[in-house]
């Protein structure tokens, strides 16, 4: 059964604040083999004009992905996650994420469409800081493969 397109435009309540830790940033950068000092060394980050170490460009996935589970596991939507693959991903940066940030994520269903029996669902996540200012906006598209696949 195709996903209910009336979900387009629906948003979920903002998540509790995710606190960005220096060691989590270092761990994430190390997992990408990335030794850029802006992620590790406060003095180097400050020399570039940042208040503290900043996070790598894809770091936001570590807390926006859990946030999106509200939608993925919404029983009303009935998305079969076992058949889902990540189709595309985009980030728009309003400012770099830095250690000490307390960030809330609001999940919004931006688009649902069916292509050749597969469902494609795009979620937009607005990430804001404690002052309510935008930090990063993410778009993730999941492809949910049709239930009956031959071959």
């Amino acid at each position: 059964m195709p996903l209910d397109s009336s979900f387009v435009g629906r948003s979920y309540p903002p998540t509790p604040a995710y606190e960005v830790g220096r060691e989590k940033i270092r761990e994430f950068a190390a997992a990408l083999g990335d030794d850029n000092p802006a992620y590790r060394d406060q003095a180097a980050a400050r020399a570039l004009g940042h208040p503290d170490v900043i996070a790598p460009p894809t770091f936001a996935i570590a807390f926006t992905w859990p946030a999106s589970q509200q939608l993925v596991h919404d029983p009303e939507l009935g998305l079969d996650f076992g058949r889902a693959v990540h189709g595309d991903q985009k980030f728009a940066y309003h400012r770099p994420i830095h250690a000490g940030d307390r960030l809330r994520s609001t999940v919004i269903v931006e688009n649902i469409r069916a292509v050749a029996g597969n469902d494609m669902i795009t979620t937009r996540i607005e990430v804001t800081d404690e002052a309510g200012e935008p930090v990063v906006t993410t778009w993730s598209m999941l492809v949910v493969r049709a239930a009956e696949v031959s071959g």
Partner: protein, 139 residues
């Protein structure tokens, strides 16, 4: 930092080659919280029709991002970054794993000292990311 005047349209970023092994995928799973079994369990990957364990798409995107941020110097100069996951990066259970190659070229200049970089990301000679683009603000 790279200056806007130093990076006219057509400027090529240094091509990067990243080695990817199963260990890297396990480390990325832990750091990112994405423990999907297809990224570390061959039996389960094959059971869903994949040729072998595949890398997290976000791991490959992270490597592509490194080619940009290493060139830039300040990763905070990124304005936007997007990719399409067109083909999986297959990571065999060998000491050498596989390789991901990332090339980039300045495609367009925008207002406000910004440029659009188009990335070419391949593994085993196959393009694994489509529409891979980053916009950056230069000095």
């Amino acid at each position: 930092m790279i200056a806007f005047d130093e990076a006219p349209v057509g400027t090529e970023l240094p091509t990067r080659t990243f080695r990817v092994t199963r260990t890297d995928l396990v480390r990325y799973a832990g750091a990112s919280g994405d423990f999907n079994v297809i990224h570390w369990n061959e039996r389960r990957a094959i059971s869903v029709g994949l040729p072998d364990v595949i890398a997290h798409g976000m791991y490959t995107m992270g490597l592509a991002g490194r080619a940009v941020t290493d060139w830039l110097g300040d990763p905070g100069a990124l304005v936007d970054f997007g990719v399409r996951f067109s083909r999986p990066v297959v990571v065999p259970d060998t000491d050498d794993g596989t390789e991901v190659q990332v090339g980039g070229v300045v495609k367009r200049a925008l207002d406000d000292r910004q440029v659009v970089i188009e990335l070419t990301v391949t593994s085993d000679g196959v393009k694994v990311l489509g529409q891979a683009r980053a916009t950056v603000r230069l000095s």
